[in-house]
């Protein structure tokens, strides 16, 4: 059940990340073109891209990227490990990752809160709220933490996790 919800959340976030990439292509191209042809660049393109679209593209995809085995790792030394050693190694780093990303999620929650309370804005003709720029980091890492937790539970109870591709090849 939780597995399903996690998977659905990952897909939704991934779709949003893809949409923001598509928007970037169009907005930046349009911005460049307008600057040349009509001498009037889109003044909001820079802030929209830098503070929102690119952050969404990176952090909304973080869990799906992990699930699909796209985060690169050095698997050379794993070949020499026995199956059990490999399992212990995996459990260790997944647990440590949960702690690290847990701290990132917590710290970014604090950033959201602080920048919201202080009513911080990025400068520009449109007042872009700063807190909104931290939200994708918080949301993305939260889903990743859930994914990692499910992963480590599967590793401990079943010895493997069919939901997550690992030792797989990269998609590039």
């Amino acid at each position: 059940m939780l597995n399903r919800i996690t998977k659905i959340s990952e897909q939704i976030l991934l779709v949003i990340a893809c949409i923001s990439v598509a928007i970037m292509v169009v907005v930046i191209s349009a911005d460049t073109l307008l600057r040349y042809v009509f001498n009037s660049p889109l003044s909001w393109a820079y802030n929209l891209t830098t503070y929102y679209l690119i952050v969404i593209c990176f952090y909304f995809a973080i869990s799906a990227t992990f699930r699909d085995g796209v985060h690169i790792s050095i698997d050379l030394f794993r070949f020499g490990m026995s199956k059990n050693v490999r399992l212990i190694a995996d459990i260790t780093w997944v647990l440590l990752s949960i702690i690290a990303f847990g701290l990132i999620a917590y710290a970014n929650w604090k950033s959201i809160f602080e920048t919201f309370v202080q009513n911080q804005h990025y400068e520009g003709i449109i007042s872009w709220p700063v807190w909104l720029s931290y939200v994708p980091i918080f949301v993305g890492t939260c889903v990743l933490i859930i994914r990692l937790t499910l992963h480590v539970i599967a590793l401990i109870t079943k010895g493997n996790d069919p939901e997550v591709i690992f030792d797989g090849e990269q998609s590039t």
Binding site: R35, N39, P41, Y46, T115, Q118, N119, Q120, H121, Y122, E123, G124, S127, V130
Partner: protein
């Protein structure tokens, strides 16, 4: 002797630009060395230049840096009211800008209360950069009407509003890209201090400058974290305060001297300098002061004390 031994410490300073940058050599370092000397070497400094520690404000909060020389416009989201020091029509020299800023940024000042205390640091001294002039490649600016429609490099909201108030089209271009942007005709000119031209060889491209218009400039602050400050003895705190004041004067006088020399240099190189008549100056002043209202409105709309800050800044240093 024991008291001395207890207080001996090395403070870490974060700084955005390289260690040989003139603002460090003639400001930050002047202060740091003086403090070391006056405390008989008890206070030592360790510089982390060129943004090694990443975001300076985060480094201060993290305790990874004890002090920093920061540019408030680099953190415009955290220090919106500090941009009061970038407004046009307020000063015509680095020392004037510095003194005005110090009045509002010093501990207990209106900016300190509004923006620096919450971030957990205090200002030791301020440094206003020399004021901007408008430099252009082809077109000489004689009157304010000549500015209309010009594409001017203006980074940050303060500069952009100033350019807009004069009828120009502000375009965001980073310093390293300015040369390119000028040769390609992306921009017709730029807001710059005289002394800022040579770093990117912009003196080669500009043929005209108009001066006498007060177009604002940027600001840097030497700050120390509350934690580091509170760990100092009263005697050392006094030394910091005294040497800070001295370094502040030294830096602004240095900058004004450098700006005058730079001005002479570009004149020698054949730049056409247009000095606004008193009558023209009044017109320009009227125009750019419209930026004040925009600024105040924006601050007030966001629930900040824009009006009060502007009044305090205007009254400061007089």
């Amino acid at each position: 002797y024991q008291a001395m031994a207890e207080e001996a410490k090395t403070l870490k300073v974060a700084w955005l630009f390289p260690a040989n940058h003139y603002l460090w050599e003639n400001g930050g370092k002047v202060f740091a060395d003086a403090v070391t000397e006056r405390t008989d070497g008890k206070i030592q400094w360790e510089l982390y230049p060129a943004g090694q520690l990443g975001n300076n404000i985060a480094a201060l909060k993290a305790g990874l840096a004890d002090a920093a020389m920061i540019s408030t416009s680099y953190h415009a989201d955290k220090f919106p009211l500090s941009s009061v020091a970038e407004l046009p029509g307020m000063f015509s020299s680095s020392c004037e800008s510095t003194e005005k800023m110090w009045g509002v940024a010093k501990p207990g000042g209106i900016l300190d209360n509004a923006e620096y205390k919450v971030q957990g640091f205090r200002v030791i001294f301020a440094g206003g950069l020399p004021p901007y002039n408008i430099f252009t490649t082809d077109k000489a600016i004689e009157t304010i009407d000549d500015v209309k429609g010009l594409k001017l490099r203006a980074n940050g909201e303060g500069m952009s509003n100033t350019a807009r108030s004069l009828g120009a089209v502000p375009i965001k271009v980073s310093s390293p890209e300015t040369y390119d942007a000028l040769t390609r005709g992306v921009i017709d000119g730029a807001l710059y201090p005289y002394s800022g031209l040579f770093g990117y060889k912009l003196n080669e491209l500009f043929d005209h400058v108009v001066e006498g218009s007060q177009l604002g400039s940027g600001i840097i602050l030497w700050v120390i974290s509350d934690k580091a400050w509170n760990s100092l003895s009263d005697e050392t705190k006094n030394i910091f305060t005294e040497e800070g004041a001295k370094a502040q004067s030294f830096l602004c006088e240095y900058q004004d001297r450098r700006d005058t020399e730079s001005r002479q240099r570009v004149i020698d190189e054949g730049m056409n300098v247009v000095t606004l008549t008193e009558e023209q100056q009044k017109i320009w002043q009227d125009r750019v002061s419209g930026v004040w209202d925009i600024w105040v409105k924006k601050m007030e709309d966001a629930g900040r004390k824009g009006k009060e800050t502007l009044e305090a800044y205007k009254a400061s240093g007089n």
